[in-house]
Amino acid sequence: MNTVVSGVKPAPVGTRLGLEDERSLVDLVTREASDGHRELTLDVPDMRCASCAARIEQHLSALRGVGRVRINPARQQVLLTYDPVRLTLSAITDAVTDAGYTPVPTTRTNDDPELAAERRTHLKRLGVAGIGMMQVMMFSIALYAGAGQDMTPFYESLMRWVALAFTTPVLLYSAAPFFRNALSSAAGLFRPRGVRLVGLTMDVPVALALAIAYGASVVATVSGGDHVYFDSVTMFTFLLLTARLLEQSTRLKLARYDNWLAMLPAHVDLERNDHPERLPVTAIRPGDRVRVAAGARVPIDGWIIEGASDVDESPLTGETRPLPRGVGDRVFAGTVNTNQALVVEANTNIVDTRMAAIHRLAQRATFDKPPTVQLADSIARYFVLGVITLSLVTYLAWQWFDPGSALAATIAVLVVSCPCALSLATPAAITAAATALRRAGFVATRAHVIERLAKVTHVVFDKTGTLTGGKPELVAVEPVGALSAKACERIAVALEQHTDHPLSQAFAAADAPLVASTVRIHDGRGITGVIDGVAYRLGSAEFCRIARPARHRDHTTIYLAEDSGDRCIPLAEFSIRLWLRDDANATLAAIRRLGISAEILSGDSMAPTAEISVALDDLPYGAGCSPEAKLAHIQALTRKGEAVAMVGDGINDVPGLAAATVSIAPADSTDLAKTTSDAILLGRGLGAIARAIEVARRTRAIVKQNVMWALIYNVAAIPLAAAGLVPPWLAAIGMSASSLGVTLNAMRLTRNEATTWK
């Protein structure tokens, strides 16, 4: 049974898209996960609160072959892993359909015809409810006014009958989705495989309230009772539909930044085997040549093989300036080719592009539930049950005092309560914050990042490759042994080829390269290797067992030595100059302004570290730190009660990154550092760190506001309603405003970012 809020009844996804048969589609909507499992993301547009999420989770977890299931109610998405051997894609989508919801694979876009149809139906329901509400209100005013001016019973009865006539289509057409959802949720209670009572959705009290109010009014109209509630019924329907429409378009707006496929052009001009074709973007395979017009988005990762142009990489890196790119340069999917046509040779297919990878990492983070969200969820699940019990108690209690007001108070209790404010409060803020951060070039890969980042009191920076950036420059080569400077450099080049340490970029590739064998990398200290039967060491003075002072003390110095088993013969001394990142100073100033202390922890020697420290306004520093020393230092800080953010790029930073409260890796880090880190910077600079801390703090404030608001609202409104002090129409306004308020409050996070940073 389908229960789309706006009433469209699409066939289950599996059959509609023929997912079983279309292998390429399975490849597109699912991804390779560990041990043969596949990872799948589904949009569930009619999942609105924690109770819905719990129902879907129960249905999916009951399937054989399903691994981890994670649900994000704010984004209305489900992420799960499954075993493709034991389970088909359509079995999964069928399970979601069985739970009473409509699954849609996430590759759809805003312009999806089905989504548009859904929105249209919703609008029509809203229009009917709105026009109906206005009419019924007028008749209500006539009834209220007439009561004071002795309206004859004939006209009073006439007004009631007309109001009934206008309310009935509103109830049957506009409010239909609430009844359908409530019924399928209630029906779930009696299924043999037992969905527990906590699976009741928010639509149950809504439908109960509407049915009771309408039913009582019809009875009063026919038999001449005291009260009719037609105005409350139409108004509640109208306000709820409005709130849901606004909520939905807000979520769509957030999701829009998310749908990476929607950013790419739908079709591309492809040249395969010298044969031009126009194909969907998903058909691109490695080796295809793609023509990218000026002003168009690059659809695929690859190399430029024809033309030169300026490429705007801001969607990937946050860097706003277009950068010149020519033949042989790499370009990435999602970037914009600003001024000249290019021909790009693809080197991946669409799902393996850098952009897709970044989105997957970031998406994973939004599916992990931070601790505060888990708490709100577990409260919300019991909330609906509590509300229904409470309304029953209210009704019975009023029977005792004043049976005439019992119905109004019961309806008010059912209407006024809103667990969605509670369960949406945190996820909405976290989702909005993640979106804001991503646009600033900061990708959180774990759920706790935003919560922890807000608490950070101390930032530890690695020096080489983190505070410094760009290409290091080899300033001088001093031969100290038997070999010439040139020969020493060639040996060093051969060894450095095996590492992606930032310093290795100082050694340009030679014309006739030497080949090093049995190369070993000693983290944070140096490299050993054998060239033409001679063993060499390349690294710090200590690593090469050299005691003499460096010639160029201000520069970073590394040594080359011949390793003859028990002793080392020094061969050369390389002086390398490192360049501070452009925005390092501004970033540190911004971090200090936030009241956060910072320091450098470098594996490099004293003098060059000191030089960087001076350039950064006497930033405190520790030099000559081994990976173990970095780890120990961070552990000591944590024991003192500091919340430490570690920013590091190298393999030698990995232990430190793992121990820090939050770990951040710059864009050009080693892969190991990136996968160990909680967050990755996309741009060239460090500026995003200060911004991220700022956004995280604002998010924390907004989450607090939202949760406080939801709690205060419910704690204040429910007793008032039970006491009969809230008329049903006011309850309707309160509930809708409360839900909408938390969503809009969270949206402020994305809005402020746009106005103040760009």
């Binding site: 876009t109 015809p113 929105r119 229009g127 009917v128 739908a266 969907p280 973007v281 002003g295």
Partner: protein, 61 residues
Amino acid sequence: MEVILLLLPVSVVIIAIAIAVFVWAVDNGQYEDTDRQGDAALFDDLGQPPSRSNETQQPRA
């Protein structure tokens, strides 16, 4: 007061017409994109903001 007996059916007809017009407007796509026409006034060429040119090439295959 008897005139109300005439006015009520008239209002029902008018409301029916109003709903019919609204449904027509929705089906005609009048509410599909409430942002773009507003933004379009800010751009000189063709009435379409250039940054959206890629997004309007939907629907995809």
